[in-house]
Amino acid sequence: MSVHRRSQGLFDPKLVSEAIGQSFIKLNPRILFRNPVMFTVEIGTVIMLIVSLWTLSGNAHQGSFAYNLSIFLILLFTVLFANFAEALAEARGKAQAATLRKTRKDTPAKKIVLMGEIFLNEVHIVPSSELKKGDVFVCEVDDIIPSDGEIIEGIATIDESAITGESAPVIREAGGDKSSVTGGTKVLSDKIKVKVTTDPGESFLDKMIALVEGASRQKTPNEIALTILLAAFTIVFIIVCITLKPFGDYANTPITIAAFISLFVCLIPTTIGGLLSAIGIAGMDRALRANVIAK
């Protein structure tokens, strides 16, 4: 695992260009709808585009064309930036997942075949992805454990820092409650026989890959509750801005559409709403970088 040192910078040109493309694709209302805060900003952007065109065609009540256009551009940039942040985080996650996957495939496993070609209990070297639940493999000094499993024979010190971040080695032994080992960790001394406890594609490492890719990243309960709170705030500010129109009428103060939309976007929690999903993915990314890849 230590050979796969990360070389990606934050703004790797390949990732950035992919993210830029994605940030435009994500403008599709059907995709953006899942993020209510940014979706309302997008609606505001569309309205500003219409207002800009309207002023261009001769309407004089909504301020100058340049004013409306600049607000339209600022809003567009806001939406694009939120999309870009999310897309960049996703792209980085994907790139990392690919590296991880490669790691997993490359790790050789010393599988014990009960009825071998020549001897009983013959050791075959197979790629770790071919290990099935119930298979038994053996690990010696300096081997990377290829899959999650339970020690059935022997005792070993294991470096689990790749998964837990704890740099002191731990002792694992057959029997008792300290018998399980995790794929991706490294044996530092002695020899153990391990029985595989997960099917391919379900191991701890696979779960991490899925998390980083964002494919199976379910929203956490807190994230759901936070979305509800943000939606509530957004609704309050919709009310505040809409009611300002009759208030303005009463005070004989006409307010331009551009001013309404600007006020609205300033009030709603755009920063957190726009970056929430990016934060989630980036968090996974960081966790992995700290514990797995950098080692």
Binding site: A225, L244, F247
Partner: protein
């Protein structure tokens, strides 16, 4: 001047000193502990439960509690409607007052059921002794009892155990009325009767003035009415002038008693929570947050009232007593300013001066008090409103420190956040949307038809404003804010006794009363069902000053962001216009 300031401070400190033991007593009442008052009240309660065939020991789920609450409120509403629309022929009408019109009766009945007491009528001519006693005064007890019973159900749900039962709602209700409200009311009413407040059924009195004119003076069962009006934070006056009327609030002493009476139970409920859940420190944190909010509003108000009106000062007139327009000389500008904020942060809404005549900053602070609606708040419901902000603050705080949000050992999750958000959303929604509606009609002078007719028979909507410009806007904003906060005080100056204002206000009242009760009770019910997690090093401490500050910040941010534009067009614009 120092004596007047001292008077205000004495009022506040006296309330605090009385409310702590009262809180302990309330906690004991709700916990069902044995108290010395059992001897007197047990037989009375048994009689009630026997007559109504209610088993007070049978516990209810949160849904059953709410069904019970809504059902009895519905029946009270119909009863009050009946009394008010038929009062002309019902007994106890020595002054021959007419029955109320259906829209006015609807507004009045709703506003008394929901503990608001908006009063688009004047008590002297708009209601008979029968209505005052059996409809209005009865509802003042019942609505206060409802709020307290709902709070008791929430206390019960926050205990350290897992259950789906929140106690018996009827039991809490009866106990709140009989053991808490009634005895204190008898004391307050007696004090008032000895200070000259009438307590009679004889009808109008006639006096001959020094000039030889004959004047008819309305009397009635005023002393009893005044007591529950304040203790239950109802605020509906017996007379139209409310507590500014010399018979309803004869002197500085009764003014103090009324002041203490209205703050007493909102204070005591917070302490009761502390004693009931054995979390005294949390109770003190909550009380301190409320008090800071209260002081932030009351200090600028007192200062701006005592300093007087800059426009009058420009004319070279001395104002040694401060801004005395719309104030009673016997109460001074200190006590009146203090009262005006107390009555708005708490949902009393009784007045002892004319809020319309206060300085713009004072008007804004009154509005803010109602917009936040949980610096103390009404009996029971004040704590419930605070509870909603508490849940939001716990959630935000939990996320900020990276912990799963917990309150009193129960996890706060999406469902609770949904309910809390809806309740927090409701208040700005009702205030802003209805004010916007009224503004729209007024600015376009819409022909309102049946909905509105002004004194000269015109239907134009701008006719309901007696003051143009910013002040008129404040009046409309105040009316709906007062409704949505279930406060009931009026800025006045608005022609509000007509179908449009009566009916829209009643709609706002119904929503803003019952959803904020349903929400917290539901949250408490859901939290009660969850597993109790004992406090550990990782728990976000809710009984610290830091957390108190967070709650205050949440309230200020929600109120400031939602209401600032409206306030800027009303009182703030007026304030800068007066300079």
């Amino acid at each position: 001047m120092n004596a007047e300031l001292l008077g205000v401070i004495v009022m506040f400190v006296a309330t605090l000193l009385l409310s702590v033991p009262l809180g302990r007593y309330i906690a004991k009442v709700y916990a069902g502990d044995r108290i010395w008052t059992d001897v007197i009240f047990n037989p009375v309660e048994k009689l009630f439960f026997k007559l109504s065939r209610i088993n007070p020991t049978k516990e209810m789920t949160w849904k059953q509690s709410l069904t019970a609450m809504l059902t009895i409120n519905m029946i009270w509403l119909l009863w009050a409607m009946f009394c008010l629309t038929n009062q002309s022929w019902l007994p106890w009408n020595p002054d021959h007052n007419p029955s109320q019109t259906p829209d006015q009766a609807f507004n009045t009945a709703v506003s008394f059921v929901v503990n608001c007491n908006l009063q688009d009528y004047s008590g002297e001519t708009g209601a008979t002794y029968f209505s005052q006693v059996f409809a209005l005064m009865f509802l003042q007890f019942a609505s206060a009892g409802t709020g307290m019973a709902a709070a008791a159900a929430v206390f019960n749900g926050l205990k350290e155990r897992t259950t789906d039962k929140l106690g018996n709602f009827y039991n809490y209700f009866i106990k709140s009325c009989i053991r808490i409200l009634l005895p204190i009311c008898i004391l307050i009413a007696t004090i008032h009767a000895f200070n000259g407040t009438p307590m009679t059924l004889k009808g109008m009195d006639t006096i001959t003035t020094m000039q030889g004119d004959t004047v008819h003076v309305s009397t009635g069962p005023v002393a009893a009415f005044v007591a529950i009006k304040h203790l239950g934070t109802n605020g509906g006056g017996y007379y139209g002038a409310n507590s500014a009327h010399p018979l309803e609030n004869p002197n500085y002493f009764t003014n103090m008693v009324q002041m203490i009476a209205q703050i007493l139970i909102p204070f005591a409920m917070v302490f009761a929570m502390g004693f009931y859940l054995r979390r005294k420190k949390l109770a003190w944190v909550i009380w301190t947050v409320m008090t800071i909010g209260f002081l932030l509003l009351v200090i600028p108000t007192v200062i701006s009232e005592v300093n007087g009106n800059p426009q009058i000062a420009k004319m070279g007139v001395m104002q040694p007593n401060g801004n005395m327009e719309g104030k009673e000389v016997r109460f001074s500008s200190y006590a009146t300013a203090f009262w005006s904020i107390a009555t708005t942060v708490i949902s009393t809404g009784s007045v002892n001066g004319m809020h319309d005549s206060f300085m713009p900053i004072s008007g804004m602070n009154m509005l803010l008090g109602m917009m936040v609606n949980s610096f103390y708040g009404g009996v029971g419901v004040g704590f419930l409103n605070f509870f909603v902000y508490l849940i939001i603050a716990v959630f935000i705080g939990g996320l900020m420190v990276g912990r799963t949000p917990e309150f009193l050992g129960k996890k706060v999750e999406a469902k609770e956040m949904k309910i809390a958000s809806i309740v927090a959303l409701l208040h700005p929604f009702l205030i802003l949307v209805f004010t916007a509606l009224a503004c729209y009609f007024a600015s376009h002078n819409t022909n309102m038809g049946w909905w509105f007719t002004d004194a000269s028979g015109k239907h134009g909507a701008s006719g309901w404003l007696n003051n143009p410009s910013y002040h008129g806007f404040s009046e409309m904003l105040y009316q709906y804010t007062s409704c949505s906060a279930n406060n009931g005080s009026g800025f006045e100056g608005l022609a509000d006794n007509n179908p449009f204002w009566n009916i829209t206000a009643a709609i706002v009242l119904l929503f803003s009363r019952f959803l904020p009760i349903i929400g917290p009770v539901a949250i408490a019910g859901i939290l009660a069902q969850k597993k109790f997690i004992p406090e550990s090093g990782g728990t976000l401490k809710t009984d610290t000053g830091t957390f108190g500050l967070l709650i205050l910040a949440v309230k200020v941010i929600i109120a400031a962001l939602a209401f600032f534009p409206a306030l800027a067009l009303g009182p703030l614009a007026e304030f800068f216009g007066m300079k």
